[in-house]
């Protein structure tokens, strides 16, 4: 599904990612771990299509198509989703109206009809229940005044609504208490199936107790320094990153 070959990325002329290779197939969960500044968030931003990041070398292939020239919205239309580490607050637009706009934009881009209002409502209710989101929450302004946990739950709620084929969760566990972590993780697990793939970017092992990865990669200095299975995450928790 996703194939990254020898990727080099600069941010404001500074090399952040320096020759990264990664292959993710449908039905897999990959965890990317690494110390601060190793390039984890840069990797997610560059897959999602943030134009502030320059791909200077290498390729990102998504379903065998080079997506380098695609805008963020075109990537979304193809099924790529990113859960933000710091979701943006947008006063003046409610969660419900935002998600309706997003859903119908994607349908339109894929040449499909808009979702009928009653179906939309049913869908919103179902997915809100999945993440234990109160209905009052849905009529609040997007992310405005949300707690850290509410923001992250709202991100996964959007993921549930948009049903992406590739979801990148950028430090979704940061700022979550143990209950919110459980809700978010169980939401993600319910959304997982054999046709989609999930990349979990995290500092800590604790999220991986709930979302079990098939592969764990250690990102260091812009490259994948080591790959393994879920036991690698446990080792990292115990020994830190220095031994790699």
């Amino acid at each position: 599904m996703l194939k990254i070959e020898n990727l080099h990325v600069n941010v404001e002329n500074k090399a952040i990612i320096k020759g990264l290779n990664l292959e993710v197939n449908a039905g897999e969960v990959h965890a990317i771990m690494g110390p601060n500044g190793s390039g984890k968030s840069t990797l997610s931003a560059v897959i999602a299509g943030n134009e502030d990041y320059d791909v200077v070398k290498g390729k990102i292939l998504y379903n065998d198509e080079n997506i380098e020239d695609l805008s963020a919205e075109e990537r979304a239309h193809k099924g790529i989703f990113m859960s933000f580490q710091y979701p943006v607050e947008i006063p003046g637009i409610t969660v419900t109206n935002f998600i309706k706009t997003a859903i119908n934009s994607n349908l339109k881009a894929r040449g499909k009809k808009e979702m009928p209002a009653n179906e939309m409502l049913k869908n919103i209710r179902e997915k809100a229940n999945l993440l234990e989101i109160d209905s009052k929450f849905l009529s609040r302004s997007l992310n405005e005044g949300f707690s850290g946990g509410e923001k992250k739950r709202n991100e996964i709620f959007q993921m549930a609504m948009l049903e992406p084929t590739l979801a990148i969760l950028d430090e979704t566990d940061s700022g979550l208490d143990i209950d919110a972590l459980r809700i978010v993780a169980s939401g993600v697990n319910k959304l997982k199936n054999k046709d989609n793939a999930i990349i979990v970017i995290t500092h800590y092992q604790r999220l991986l107790d709930h979302i079990i990865p098939d592969y764990v990669h250690v990102l260091q200095d812009g490259k994948i320094a080591k790959s393994g299975d879920k036991n690698l995450a446990l080792q990292l928790e115990e020994k830190g990153y220095d031994w790699i």
Partner: protein, 450 residues
């Protein structure tokens, strides 16, 4: 002859029918004398620095109207709130239109000012309230006081909560060249009363529109409106202004609000167009525990210009004021926000907040924004902030990652930017009406119910 000379010399003829012994004649005579001294503001006047008002002070302007113009309802029906019952006071070219109005004297006075001004029954009210809080040095207020004969009169008696909102609608028919209109509203909320009022200004036809009226040399009307509002103890007023006019017509609006203790008054100003629109909005806090709320949304295009000059005078302790103005400027449009807050030495423990945010969309648009705080008390909280800029890039990226196209994302963020000011609008029909105008002005097609 200059416009000033012409206006001054019109005064005698204007007052021909007025009883020269009446108090109102006295007020008008004093005003015109003062206007003769003060004249029109020029560019050197700091208060008018960024608004070239001279541009619309055409020498051809006249206060005398030639004839009455009839308008089909179809052309104006969108000017009404619709969908709810309301009191209505409608003026066409400054003259009262009884056909579309719905006034009352039952429980409250909601009628026209001319029927009150020279009526002995109301002489006490007039002497207590009329022209008592108006700036006696401000050119356009003086001019309005000299020449105004008509407008809305609202008096809500003690402890009455008005059952439905009031609409005050001013329509320029465009049927006559060079009209200078001087509408005047007097609004009184007695102790413990409550009301919601929507005042709007519209023009049907301007110089650039093709119509049977337009002819070479047609000069668009200039509206010089003044509203005096008295909010007594414990009273609660929500006032809304809709300025959604043609590119060619101009409005100068002076509004004075005098609040007594424990009262709450809010004024929302929705400025969606006009050639030059100038709003002088003045709040005086004459008592303790007063709350004053000033909010505004300005969305302009082409060469339009809007200027908001607000004044909040904190003259007593334990009061609050909250100002939030947002502007969106397209094309070559220009805007001004000048927020003046005066805190008297005795006005301790007050909280004054002021915020002005602007989006410059057009490459040639501009805005001048200036907080002006004069604080003489030492135990107060006063904050202010202003921003001028473009849409937030990270917000734009966030929306795009959800599959929303760049164009739609920009539209949605611009809409959200303005929409946020409507939070406290309690009147649902008005809220939806304004939201629709905002979406329309921004040019965004929203995929959800408003």
């Amino acid at each position: 002859m200059s416009l000033k000379e012409k206006l001054v010399s019109s005064f005698l003829a204007f007052e021909l029918d007025t009883d020269i012994n009446s108090p109102i004649h006295d007020i008008r005579s004093k005003s015109i004398k003062e206007f003769e001294k003060v004249g029109f503001p020029d560019k050197k006047n700091e208060f008018w620095k960024y608004t070239p008002i001279k541009k619309v002070l055409n020498e051809e302007l006249t206060i005398f109207k030639k004839k009455r113009h009839l308008i089909e309802f179809d052309k104006v029906k969108d000017f009404f709130l619709g969908g709810i019952e309301s009191y209505k006071i409608v003026f066409i070219d400054g003259m009262y239109d009884p056909l579309w109005s719905s006034t009352t004297h039952k429980g409250a006075d909601i009628c026209i000012l001319s029927s009150v001004l020279e009526n002995k029954k109301y002489s006490n009210v007039i002497s207590k309230y009329y022209n008592t809080i108006v700036d006696s040095k401000e050119s356009f207020s003086l001019l309005n006081t000299s020449f105004s004969k008509e407008g809305a009169y609202v008096n809500i008696p003690k402890n009455i909560e008005l059952d439905k909102p009031i609409e005050i609608i001013h329509i320029n028919s465009g049927g006559e060249s060079s009209l200078m209109l001087q509408p005047r509203n007097l609004i009184i909320l007695e102790k413990g009363s409550k009301a919601q009022i929507v005042e709007s200004h519209y023009s049907l036809i301007g110089k650039n529109n093709i119509s049977p009226y337009t002819f070479p040399g047609y000069i668009d009307p200039l509206t010089n409106t003044l509203t005096e509002i008295h909010v007594e103890e414990n009273a609660n007023l929500d006032y809304y202004k809709i300025q959604n006019d043609l590119d060619t017509t101009s409005i100068i609006d002076n509004t004075y609000i005098n609040q007594k203790k424990n009262s709450v008054a809010s004024c929302h100003t929705f400025s969606f167009g006009g050639n030059i629109v100038r709003n002088n909005l003045n709040f005086y806090q004459n008592g303790k525990n007063i709350n004053s709320i000033l909010k505004g949304i300005t969305i302009l295009g082409s060469n339009q210009h809007t200027d908001h000059h607000t004044l909040v005078h904190h003259a007593n302790p334990n009061c609050e004021s909250y100002q939030e103005y947002k502007g969106i400027y397209n094309d070559k449009s220009t805007g001004v926000f000048n927020g003046k807050v005066i805190v008297d030495r005795v006005a301790q423990k007050i909280n004054a907040f002021q915020q002005n945010n602007n989006l410059l969309v057009g490459d040639h648009s501009s805005v001048n924004t200036k907080p002006q705080l004069e604080i003489f008390a030492d135990d107060v909280k006063c904050s202010h902030g202003c921003t001028i800029g473009q849409l937030d890039k990270s917000a734009l990226f966030y929306l795009k990652t959800r599959g929303i196209t760049e164009k739609d994302a920009k539209g949605l963020l611009t809409y959200a930017f303005a929409n946020n000011v409507l939070e406290n609008v309690k009147m649902q029909v008005l809220k939806i009406k304004i939201k629709k105008i905002i979406a329309n002005k921004i040019g965004v097609s929203l995929g959800f119910e408003l």
